[in-house]
């Protein structure tokens, strides 16, 4: 205190920062760590993604292999209360009515469901961000793009999805093969019908950011609009995009399963979680596990993604962060 009083210039000097500056993402992670639900959700999502990617290398059973002698086996845990049940360690989750291994089917089904979910989510994000950025940045495009968004928002989505998938199934199957065609079709219809919320949020943020001084500064030194968008605007709207990405992943997984459940999804020999569930409903009195296992996997994945989105929303909001 006394030196400051004696040396008035010291008060004018810049203080040394007490600790090195931290990146925004470290702050976000610090906040996210306190949200237990988000941690569990994110952990489960990573676990299930790794499981469906590497599962087939660890559990090397062909999901399509028929094994009529060992059909209709129960999961191993049934032996706990029913000594006479047909169980075996070589089929830990049992087999279906054609003797196909259920564990292998669940892994293969998870691959399809997660792939559809991720691809559709990314497609929706790309369209939504593109429309939002263009509408927010270019005034001329704003009116028409937002009217288009409103119109697409008032389309009846599930009926239209059903119509599109049923009607365009055959030609796409013919040109890309039964699985590839269906994958392209489902990803594109889900992506094309779920970009609107992202577009609205991104547009709102861009409209606010555009008026800020740093954009004015960038423009004054002659930065082209394309570069302003890439360098200055997009990094600033990453957080709302990430939140809508989690929601989009959850909706895409549920929509794909719903389509499979209604019988308009992938071909019958190609397992997805929704397909496995739908196929098992007929005999669920005798073999409830065949409905419950894929159902639980869908629900847990979606629950995990939703919790992750909830936590991300809190963590990415700088007004809440640090509290």
């Amino acid at each position: 205190m006394t030196d400051q009083a004696t040396d008035p210039l010291a008060a004018l000097k810049d203080k040394e920062p007490s600790k090195p500056p931290r990146s925004q993402w470290i702050d976000v992670w610090e906040q996210l760590k306190h949200h237990k639900g988000a941690l569990f959700g994110g952990g489960f999502l990573i676990f299930i993604t790794l499981a469906v990617i590497f599962g087939p290398y660890i559990w090397q059973v062909d999901p399509q292999a028929l094994d009529i002698r060992n059909r209709d086996m129960r999961p191993i845990y049934v032996a706990l209360w029913d000594g006479n049940a047909k169980v075996g360690w070589f089929r830990p989750l049992g087999t279906d009515n054609l003797g196909r291994d259920i564990l292998a089917n669940l892994i293969a089904g998870g691959r399809a469901s997660m792939a559809v979910g991720w691809a559709a989510m990314i497609l929706a994000l790309v369209i939504g961000t593109g429309v939002g950025v263009v509408a927010g940045y270019f005034k001329k495009a704003d009116f028409w793009l937002m009217r288009l968004t409103d119109l697409v928002l008032s389309l009846p989505i599930l009926p239209l999805l059903l119509v599109a998938v049923t009607l365009f199934r055959e030609p796409l199957r013919a040109s890309f093969g039964p699985e590839g065609g269906m994958f392209i079709l489902i990803v594109s219809v889900v992506g094309l019908t779920s970009w609107m919320q992202t577009a609205r949020i991104v547009r709102g943020d861009i409209l606010a950011l555009k008026e800020r001084e740093f954009i004015l500064a960038a423009r004054s030194i002659g930065t082209t609009p394309g570069k302003i968008i890439r360098r200055h605007l997009l990094p600033n709207v990453v957080s709302p995009i990430m939140v809508s990405a989690t929601l989009g992943l959850a909706t895409a997984i549920i929509t794909e399963s719903a389509l499979s459940f209604l019988g308009v999804g992938f071909p019958s020999d190609f397992p997805t979680w929704g397909k496995l569930l739908a196929d098992a409903v007929q005999r669920m009195e005798q073999y409830p596990e065949r409905v419950v296992l894929p159902g639980i996997l869908i629900s847990l994945t979606v629950l995990g993604v939703n919790y992750l989105g909830d936590g991300l929303r809190d963590a990415l909001d700088p007004r809440i962060r640090g509290r």
Partner: protein, 335 residues
């Protein structure tokens, strides 16, 4: 307010026209052929005649125009005739289903009550459960009740209806045997016994749909209550000595209901969409199930009409939500 309502009503006409055009073009671009089921022995020129009889020979814009005339001009006349016993629609061409060769609207009218009963009741049940949960968990924020409520609504949000449906059937129809698993639409309520049957068969479909509504609405109710509980007028109300019940249930609740009511209105079309899956699970022969069977049978006029009815519902309830928002909140007036 009236001018705003009228302007919104007029604006919704181009929206509906655009949607009908999208649906029409989607169905026209689709490669499905209604003659695919006709035996191969039928010569091609006869097939061509059959196609023309279905109205398929004409160019696209003529087909679209004819559908619009049938849907917007002739069908209302039929309805008018039905109500007042007039004969405006006599001998005019209505929208005909390719499956049954009967007018599409007649079938829709037959199927509508089942859907409306199940969907409407589930929505009311969902609202009645969701609002108290939302209010109480906002009032006691971060309490055990709030945490549990958040967890349960998160689960309700994440479990898809095509999983809860079979799960409930296994539990209540198969294991316990309390409730029927199939919705019997031929049941006519005449006395106490049939009423009980009707009640029991509606429990499961209604609860499955209500779970989705409850999960969503209670979250909205909670955050809306939280926004209002921290406001100055609440402190003023408490300071002037109002009882806590009056403060929360009258002052805060009324203000918090404004956004929630619009969410309720906006959610109606979504729950009709969700009913497609629930109807399929519980074998309710409502319009969702009708849409599915029509799709599989390539019955284009039926699919077109049903999808358009869903679109009308969405546009209508968007309009209702907008108008309600202005009516309830005098601060927001659009004119």
């Amino acid at each position: 307010m009236l001018t705003f309502t009228i302007r919104r009503l007029i604006l919704s006409i181009p929206t509906l026209l655009f949607i009908s055009l999208v649906i029409f073009l989607l169905l026209q671009l689709a490669p499905g052929d209604p003659m695919a089921q006709v035996p191969l022995t039928v010569p091609p020129e006869v097939k061509q005649k059959m196609r023309e009889a279905l109205g398929l020979g004409q160019p696209l814009h003529v087909q679209y125009y004819k559908w619009m005339v049938q849907f917007f001009w002739i069908e209302p006349q039929v309805l008018f005739d039905h109500w007042f016993g007039t004969t405006f629609a006599e001998g005019k061409q209505r929208v005909i289903s390719w499956q049954t060769r009967s007018p599409v609207m007649d079938i829709v009218v037959q199927r509508m009550p089942q859907t409306l009963w199940v969907v409407g009741l589930s929505y009311i049940v969902g609202i009645l459960i969701a609002l108290p949960i939302g209010i109480y968990s906002a009032y006691r924020q971060y309490s055990v009740f709030d945490q549990t409520g958040t967890f349960i609504t998160m689960i309700g949000f994440s479990i898809p209806p095509f999983f809860t449906g079979p799960l409930l059937i296994v539990l209540f129809s198969v294991q316990l045997g309390w409730l029927p698993s199939i919705y019997d639409t031929t049941l006519v309520v005449t006395d106490w016994a049939t009423f009980k049957l009707q009640f029991f068969q509606m429990i499961m479909p209604v609860m499955v749909l209500a779970l989705q509504t409850t999960a969503q609405l209670s979250r909205y109710m909670r955050s809306s209550m939280l926004d209002n509980l921290g406001q100055d007028y609440v402190r003023t109300a408490r300071a002037k000595g109002l009882r806590e019940g009056v403060v929360v249930m009258v002052h805060v609740l009324r203000n918090s209901m404004i956004p929630v009511i619009t969410v309720i209105a906006l959610g109606v079309p979504a729950i009709f969409g969700g009913a497609i899956i629930t109807e399929n699970v519980f074998k309710v022969n409502g319009i969702g199930q009708l849409l599915l069977t029509a799709l599989f049978a390539n019955d284009i006029p039926m699919v077109m009409t049903l999808t358009f009815i869903f679109a009308i519902l969405i546009v209508l309830f968007n309009l209702i939500a907008d108008v309600l928002y202005g009516v309830l909140d005098p601060r927001i007036r659009y004119d």
